[in-house]
């Protein structure tokens, strides 16, 4: 059993006051405590970005790695110690830009883990360039005349890549965010939660007020989360900004295909082989 404060780290976040990432950090602690997880049972893995600094601000095991590479590291860790709960975190640049190849394959592969993306539609740490989710025409430091590319839709990307849990939340709506994180952790398989996490310094369009005024939770109007076509439709709506759990389907996760090998976590296997085994291996070449 644990309490939210057990997850407090000695390091205070260096995010700008008002940064949306504070909301996710708090919600993670609440979600973990609510699920009865202990700090040592969680591994938080991130890439690089303002958002990716999060593992240093939470008292769990953590890895703060390379820009875009949180997912392969997290999967390698999970397959080696699948008794731990793995939560990967990071930004939109990290997950949907430089790391998007890994994301697509992680969703197909379906290792049992949770991925929380702090999507602020901007590159925060590098002081405000366009990101894969910046709106068309958005002016940023690297697109002073307006972003000429259309934004990527992480939800339809996930739905099209075989992701078994697809959700979105706004980090200012703590209670709902906590529920969604808990559902994502409980989901058996890879779970993607895209969160609107405003950058108060470099994105003056997608602000807290903007999301407060525009988001709509689809689960409150009876959306069927097992209906892929309905999920796709809700994820592509343009009249409002939809949030909630869009799609959930449990299929066998990657670890189950390795059931025999992973009866015990890989990290606790006995190492080395016997001399009979060595002989047998050699005999194959004689």
């Amino acid at each position: 059993m644990s309490e939210m404060k057990d997850f407090n780290s000695a390091t205070h976040p260096d995010w700008c006051p008002g940064c949306g990432d504070f909301g996710l950090l708090a919600a993670m602690k609440m979600a973990f405590a609510g699920l009865g997880l202990n700090p040592h049972e969680v591994m938080t893995v991130s890439g690089i970005g303002c958002s990716s600094n999060l593992p240093g601000f939470i008292n769990t095991y953590g890895m703060h790695t390379l820009h875009g590479r949180a997912l392969p590291i997290a999967q390698g860790f999970k397959l080696s110690n699948h008794k731990m709960n793995i939560v990967a975190v990071g930004g939109d640049g990290d997950g949907y830009g430089i790391g998007v190849g890994h994301l697509v394959h992680a969703m197909r592969r379906n290792v049992d883990m949770t991925y929380l993306v702090m999507n602020n539609s901007i590159y925060g740490l590098t002081t405000g360039q366009t990101s894969p989710t910046s709106g068309f025409g958005m002016k940023t430091k690297s697109t002073p005349f307006g972003n000429p590319e259309v934004p990527l839709n992480p939800l339809t990307l996930a739905l099209g890549s075989g992701c078994g849990f697809v959700a979105r939340a706004y980090t200012g709506h703590t209670k709902r965010l906590v529920e969604i994180i808990q559902a994502a952790i409980k989901h058996q398989g890879f779970a993607l939660v895209d969160t609107f996490s405003p950058c108060v310094t470099f994105n003056l369009i997608n602000t807290h007020q903007y999301f407060k005024d525009n988001v709509k939770d689809i689960n409150q109007e009876g959306h069927d989360t097992t209906d892929l076509a309905a999920a796709w439709k809700q994820a592509s709506r343009e009249d409002v900004i939809t949030t909630g759990i869009f799609y959930q389907k449990v299929r066998s996760c990657y670890e189950e295909t390795e059931e025999d090998t992973l009866a015990e976590p890989l990290m606790s296997h006995k190492l080395g082989i016997t001399s009979e085994q060595t002989q047998k291996l050699c005999a194959e070449f004689i």
Binding site: T11, H12, D14, N38, P39, H40, E41, M43, T44, V45, I48, N53, P55, G56, N59, T60, Y61, G62, M63, H64, T65, L66, R69, P72, I73, A74, Q75, G76, F77, K78, L79, S80, N81, K83, M84, G101, H102, V104, H105, E258, D260, T261, L262, L266, M267, H269, L271, G272, I273, S275, Q277, T278, Q279, L281, C282, A283, F285, I286
Partner: protein, 585 residues
């Protein structure tokens, strides 16, 4: 050279898809079971059907040191082969071919080479005999010509077709025996004395040995993306995943592969990957991450001809510069370049140990030649002890992942222990793992941390030099007038060249490096200074190792022999090039 001739060079040539690899393996394994030594080399243009391929096996009573140059016996399998290979044959050579398939008369091509065209279809008319069995027949011919024990061949065929049932075994044995009988009746015996020593040897590639070496020394997790000539390791280990409870993962790319194994290493699992230059280029950022986060990973980089896609099915030792300099900043790395198949097996085990001892990347440099050529090797009987360094699984609290210690290595806690939570960052950090870049940036405290942590990591190299790095080997007479210097897979070929040079009256010895970084600089310098004349032999354009030696030891090797046309050295080839370089004769 008037000793009894105790080796023979056999070539099998044809189109990709003609079953050359399989025929070569059958012949090689029969020789290996006969207690002989074999060194084989596969020259192919394309791994898929169509291109021209040949395989050359140097079979001997003593260890054969290269695949040799001109073939003495050849099996030719398709119609383009005669024109390509008969001119290359050694005087007095013998050629076998299936005249049901190659209908030209080859006897006119050279009067100093005997060509036996055998109409396989006419000899074997019984039902069930397929055209591909001509290969087995021709191997029978060579086994007969060389006077090898027919029973060992029959036994091998029995083992190989065990799963296909008695009928198939009997048929193949009849065809094989048919070849032996045909030669007895129709061919002049070959003047060669091949005598086995009673040992039944393995016949395997460096990639097999790497895979087996990793497996035998505690590997549990392997991730890779296919790339020639490294893929053999993945293929080998994949077949062992179930029986040895391994996780073997083909990832979406090499960036993922290296990061998967970093995750696995962090969890306390022995792990490795293999790739070739292009894939290693993609892994470079991960190598630095492992250096910074002090993760024990092993990467096998199997060199092929570069740059870029280069000559992808060809040989080169051209990646040393990249490996030594890979990734930004300074961090400790260990680079090992095994010299032969047996060494590949032990180097894999040693690399896993060193990675955990030093908690840093260990990079193995192989190449197409070492990884893909088949060689006989005594069965591995000895395994290295598995040493896990400062790995711990428990703490009472106050744990510091990056604790500054005398030797630079900190106790490494497997995540999951109740009181040990810590975060490993890619940013510079203090002993606990707090990053200095943001919160502390610019404060005097952060300079202080940097000034402690950077040397802490780099110190590991001193211990490696002291405790683990092997000095180069010196073979041959001590104060020889000529020293050949090499590294990695060229060992045997250089040894062979030394023999030839000595036979010419040039007293030659051989200094060979398998541990290429870090170098024990002083000791190496002394060794080199005591030599009279050194020629560095490298399978690359710019003498990359020679340059490293100069940078590390200040010693300047002035004479070099370089081969960069995509072929591996043979002793004869080095011999000729060295003589030219020194303008002897």
């Amino acid at each position: 050279m008037n000793q009894v001739k105790d080796n023979i060079i056999v070539r099998i040539a044809g189109a990709a898809g003609d079953g050359i690899a399989s025929a070569g393996e059958v012949f090689g394994r029969i020789c290996a079971r006969s207690g002989l030594h074999v060194m084989a080399y596969n020259a192919y243009q394309s791994a898929i059907r169509g291109g021209h391929v040949w395989l050359q096996l140097n079979v001997g009573s003593r260890k054969t040191l290269s695949h040799g140059e001109a073939p003495e016996v050849a099996i030719l399998l398709n119609r383009t082969s005669p024109a390509l290979h008969i001119p290359m044959m050694k005087k007095g050579g013998v050629v076998f071919y299936n005249s049901s398939q190659i209908q030209e008369d080859l006897s006119k091509m050279r009067d100093d080479v005997t060509c036996y065209g055998i109409p396989f279809k006419e000899i074997f008319t019984e039902a069930g005999v397929e055209a591909v069995m001509a290969n087995t027949f021709l191997i029978g011919c060579v086994v007969g010509l060389l006077g090898l024990d027919a029973n060992i061949g029959l036994e091998f065929i029995r083992d190989r077709f065990k799963k296909k049932g008695e009928q198939v075994i009997a048929l193949n044995n009849r065809v094989f025996q048919g070849g032996i009988d045909w030669v007895k009746k129709n061919a002049k015996p070959m003047e060669v004395h091949l005598k086995g020593d009673g040992k039944r040897r393995m016949f395997l590639t460096g990639n097999h040995a790497f895979g087996m070496g990793l497996l035998a020394h505690g590997l549990k997790f392997y991730a890779a993306y296919p790339m020639s000539p490294s893929t053999g390791v993945l293929h080998y280990l994949a077949t062992k995943a179930r029986s040895h409870k391994l996780v073997i993962k083909q990832t979406e790319d090499e960036i993922a592969a290296v990061n998967f194994i970093i995750g696995a290493a962090h969890a306390g699992v022995r792990t490795a990957t293999a790739t070739s230059g292009g894939g290693f280029s993609l892994m470079v950022e991960g190598v630095g991450l492992a250096g910074m986060m002090e993760e024990p990973i092993v990467i096998i980089n199997v060199q092929r001809g570069g740059p870029s896609t280069g000559i992808p099915t060809k040989q080169e030792q051209g990646d040393l510069n990249m490996i030594i300099g890979a990734s930004q900043g300074d961090f400790p790395r260990i680079v090992l370049a095994p010299k032969d198949t047996e060494d590949a097996f032990y180097t894999a085990g040693r690399a896993l140990n060193l990675a955990e001892k030093y908690q840093t990347p260990v990079l193995i440099l192989s190449d197409l030649f070492l990884s893909e050529h088949f060689q006989t090797c005594d069965a591995f009987e000895r395994l290295l002890p598995i040493e896990r360094g400062k790995l711990i699984d428990h703490t009472e609290g106050g744990y510091k992942r990056f604790l500054i210690t005398e030797d630079g290595v900190s106790p490494r806690l497997v995540p999951g222990a109740p009181k040990g939570m810590y975060c490993s960052p890619s940013d510079e950090h203090d002993e606990v793992g707090n990053v200095i870049s943001d919160v502390l940036a610019g404060l005097p405290e952060s300079l202080d941390i940097r000034n402690k942590m950077h040397p802490k990591r780099m110190k590991k190299l001193d211990m490696a030099r002291r405790e683990d790095i092997k000095l180069p080997t010196l073979t041959g007479p001590k104060n020889a007038e000529l020293t050949l210097l090499g590294w990695g897979s060229t060992y045997d070929a250089i040894e062979e060249a030394c023999e030839y040079l000595r036979q010419e009256g040039i007293e030659t010895n051989h200094i060979h490096f398998t541990d290429v970084y870090p170098l024990p600089n002083e000791a190496v310098r002394e060794m080199l200074e005591s030599c009279k004349e050194i020629v560095a032999v490298e399978n690359n354009f710019s003498s990359q190792f020679t340059r490293l030696l100069r940078a590390e030891t200040g010693f300047d090797v002035k004479r070099m022999v370089n081969r960069f046309d995509g072929e591996p050295f043979t002793g004869e080839d080095i011999f000729n090039r060295v003589k030219k370089e020194l303008a002897y004769v």
